[in-house]
Symmetry: C2
Subunit: 201 residues, 2 copies
């Protein structure tokens, strides 16, 4: 099959970043491409009562240990927790959503650049000017990207994309849907890969 | 090394059951044994604000799909969601803790029998008479096991064991500690196995 797999992610999600570095190669091994869906976990968490991992007692300490350990385990050598975390991710999400409607391939490049800016270079991509600067280095029109962040139509599109994600059952990041089958977390990548290879079990 | 690995679990945890079916073989591949630690997630969740998975919006629907899928993925062919779920797990936890102080090998046998009674045969092991009947089939003294469930000393021992688990950072089930390194979830078994093989990375 040549259809894409749906990859939902929040730019403030460490496991989303790790997964973003691995998902295209996995999809390609099975003749698939990746459809990138930025979402806002802050909104989604209102449905589930969840909170940012690092802020939860016990789980927070564990996650701060598990994140770099999992990065090394999955061979993502460049990872460090940003000095400001978590961040609101509206600005980078809007840039990607807007760019995706114009050039999906460039939007994918921008996803990687923004994620790496945050989780490798410690750039606060919640600030519009920072997010725009990262996108501009990829070849995106800086002035247009800056305008998109405040464009009511783009804001609406992100709200709608978030609602659609919730309607599909998305509650975390990364979240992958393959031919209707949902998988939460980079720790389901082994199941995603088998699903792509076999169509289920 | 010949030291054991610590396996923390709640009898009401589906992923704990799946992991319980796999952990001894993994430990044995690396010359290790398993130290079984029943805990009460209901108490632990008060620290973290967590709730039983199946009761959480969105996450609940996902987990009901992921649990049997993960069972098949991990080759645990016998699994079905109990008709009553979740259950309080004091009775089976106390039997195991009490039996462990007398015969740790028999206690391990009882762990498997209780878990399978709940997740294969749909026996409500939260009821003392049911939990005792399962243990008795393994060769445990039924009258003594029944008395242990209401023994203040055994109750205290479980409370203390739970406090110690929290002090070690345990917040979920299954939770494995290998030489001081914590791993949460059956989806960290690949990391546990590599840790056992290499001592870290």
């Amino acid at each position: 099959m040549s259809t894409s797999i749906d990859f939902y992610f929040d730019f403030s999600s460490p496991y989303g970043y790790l997964a973003s570095e691995k998902v295209e190669a996995m999809a390609a091994r099975h003749g698939r491409s990746v459809d990138w869906h930025p979402v806002l976990l802050g909104i989604i968490f209102k449905q589930t009562g969840a909170a940012p991992l690092t802020m939860i007692p016990l789980k927070g300490d564990y996650s701060r240990r598990d994140m770099p350990r999992s990065a090394r385990f999955h061979g993502v050598s460049d990872f460090r927790m940003p000095s400001k975390f978590p961040i609101p991710s509206q600005a980078p999400a809007r840039i990607v959503l807007w760019q995706k409607q114009r050039d999906a391939a460039l939007a994918a490049t921008v996803v990687h650049a923004l994620y790496r800016a945050f989780f490798v270079d410690d750039v606060d991509i919640s600030m519009p000017e920072n997010a725009v600067a990262v996108a501009a280095k990829c070849g995106v029109d800086a002035a247009a990207a800056r305008a998109a962040i405040d464009d009511p139509a783009v804001k609406d599109a992100l709200r709608q994309a978030n609602d659609e994600a919730i309607a599909r059952g998305v509650f975390g990041s990364p979240f992958i849907i393959v031919d209707g089958e949902p998988f939460w977390g980079i720790d389901r990548f082994d199941q995603v890969e088998r699903w792509l290879a076999t169509g289920g079990w």
